[in-house]
């Protein structure tokens, strides 16, 4: 009697499992454009932010067939693109995996993606003239290709970011010791991705050489964590990207050109923070496809995705 009930329960559980397994995803391709047959992979916030999916639709009339949330320009996105689980992805322009996998960056002629120039965001009280001069000298020398080359050393060759930072400062003639920042106590922070850690190390080493008393707080996390830390003064200096920080502080911001973004940022910043000169180096979002996909559909720019198949 009990066995029957048990067996019945087991059979019911099994049947439920099997039905649940059976519910597989169905293919939905409609619309007829190249993009409508594509699965797009990127971070969750790309779905909603202005220059993400809404921006692509507005500027290029591109809407993808399906959106798979992967990660923010990380290994999950790269693997999914490489293995064909997604057809197009949101990656960052300085990502070494674009080159190593032969991915193709689709051009952005209508400037959908805002400028993402690297710049230091710093507590007003700690931005003495000496500190400003030191950091502005770094920004003057930092360009996208240079930053990309440094990222290959850190990510692909697994070199120590601190050593890479020191070597770069020496190469650029920025390692001169002095006392222009002596007496300043600074906590330098970074977000939790390799490029930001590297930039924080560059700032820290240069300021140390100028006599500043530096404390490092690397890999703090995302903006939700470090922007409050900047506001309450537990972190004094962070490497930032002008477009992203503007979007974070003012979700309705529309500026995309480097100088416009920089100007808009001045108004959006909390009262105790300022930004210094921005570098030419940009680490912006890019729509990336594999070489095979680019050749198969003749894709060069994002606009090509809106063409009929």
């Amino acid at each position: 009697m009990k066995h029957k009930i048990l067996a019945g329960a087991a059979a019911a559980a099994l049947a439920l499992t099997l039905t649940a397994c059976g519910g597989s995803s169905s293919d939905s391709s409609s619309g007829g454009t190249i993009a409508s047959s594509f699965i797009f992979g990127g971070p969750a916030e790309f779905k909603t932010r202005t220059d993400g999916i809404p921006g692509l639709a507005e500027h290029y009339g591109v809407s993808f067939g399906k959106y798979t949330v992967t990660d923010t320009g990380g290994p999950v996105t790269v693997n999914a693109l490489k293995q064909g689980q997604i057809d197009a992805a949101d990656l960052f322009t300085t990502d070494p995996s674009i080159e190593s996998n032969g991915f193709v960056i689709l051009t952005d002629p209508k400037a959908n993606f805002a400028a993402q120039n690297v710049l230091p965001i710093i507590n007003k009280d700690k931005a003495t003239d000496g500190v400003k001069t030191t950091l502005n000298a770094i920004s003057a020398k930092l360009d996208t290709a240079g930053l990309g080359a440094l990222m290959v050393k850190v990510v692909s060759e697994k070199q120590d970011p601190d050593a890479v930072a020191k070597a770069w400062l020496a190469d650029q003639g920025l390692d001169a010791t002095g006392s222009s920042a002596s007496g300043v106590k600074l906590t330098v922070g970074s977000a939790n991705f390799p490029e930001n850690v590297l930039l924080a190390q560059i700032y820290a080493e240069a300021l140390k050489a100028q006599g500043a008393d530096i404390k490092l707080k690397l890999n703090i996390g995302s903006r939700e964590k470090y922007v409050p830390a900047l506001k309450d003064g537990s972190v004094d200096l962070m490497p930032e990207y002008n477009g992203s920080i503007l979007q974070y502080l003012d979700a309705k911001a529309t500026a995309t050109e480097p100088q416009d973004v920089f100007d808009a940022l001045q108004k959006a910043l909390p009262s105790n923070l300022i930004v210094l000169d921005q570098a030419e180096a940009q680490d912006s979002d890019a729509i990336v496809v594999t070489k095979e996909t680019a050749e198969k559909y003749g894709l060069k720019s994002i606009a090509d995705l809106a063409k009929k198949k």
Binding site: K2, S28, G41, K66, Q83, Q85, E224
Partner: protein, 262 residues
């Protein structure tokens, strides 16, 4: 944006949950219905595999009292960091699968969940069988029952409360932990928690958490019902009228053995 006090937030979470648009699938977003089913699917597969491994093993170890080190070993699995293991396994497994398949992400997720579900099921099954009063099994043997009969007719019914409580705690853990499937590009209710955080859409994030909690409570209630139906009243001491209740569970079990044997 989510501004204001806790009361406002509760209202926003409620309206997020009750907005029919959030329950449907679109090209961009996968709705609650689909993610709920995906979550149930991950959990059921993991619990099915874990039960298929841990139940027979626990019964065997408890019945023969051999290989008890396996129980201790399995308990050590509880200390595994789930997310770390998931990422490691994904990096190892996912590159082997090409094309439009998520199997390269499903396998690592299921391995993590199965490893999490095995310890409570195994140790409770073992403990349940192990702690059956020797007087009861001796009586069964004395009546001429064979080893297999003793296991399935005496030890299993007597240890059912403990076995099912192991299954219940495994179910709770698996449902709660299946949220990590969204660390790799899979669905499940964890999607809302993870995406809500990234999109700074906190009603969505909390709504996802509420759904996970509701699913866990529902599953636990179902298993409690299963336990009520399957466990012998001689064990649970739950009788229609109090006057009928025997002195204790063991006597109840013996009565049952007598009834079945006779």
């Amino acid at each position: 944006m989510a501004k204001g006090g806790g009361g406002a937030m509760i209202g926003q979470v409620f309206s997020w949950l009750t907005d029919p648009a959030h329950w449907r699938d679109t090209a961009l977003d996968t709705g609650i219905t689909t993610q709920l089913l995906a979550h149930v699917r991950f959990s059921l597969i993991a619990l099915g595999i874990a039960s298929a491994i841990a139940l027979p093993l626990g019964l065997f170890i408890g019945h023969t009292r051999r290989g008890t080190f396996l129980v201790a070993g399995a308990n050590a699995l509880r200390a595994l960091p789930s997310v770390g293991l998931l990422v490691l396994l994904t990096v190892m497994i996912a590159p082997h699968f090409h094309g439009r398949t998520d199997i390269g992400y499903v396998i690592p997720t299921e391995i993590v969940l199965v490893l999490l579900a095995i310890p409570p099921i195994l140790s409770n099954t073992y403990a349940g069988v192990d702690t059956v009063d020797p007087a009861v099994t001796d009586a069964a043997r004395g009546m001429g029952m064979r080893g297999r009969q003793v296991l399935f007719d005496v030890e299993l019914p007597c240890s059912l409360p403990l076995i099912l409580s192991g299954l219940r705690s495994a179910t709770l853990q698996v449902i709660a932990t299946a949220t990590i499937a969204s660390f790799v590009p899979l669905g499940g209710l964890g999607r809302f928690i993870y995406d809500g955080l990234q999109q700074q859409d906190y009603p969505q994030m909390i709504g996802g958490g509420v759904l996970v909690a509701a699913l866990a409570v529902t599953a636990d209630l179902l298993l409690a019902l299963l336990q009520r139906v399957t466990v012998s009243r001689g064990i649970s001491g739950r009788f229609a009228t109090k006057g009928d209740a025997p002195a204790g569970p063991i006597e109840g079990a013996i009565t049952r053995v007598e009834v079945e044997a006779g």
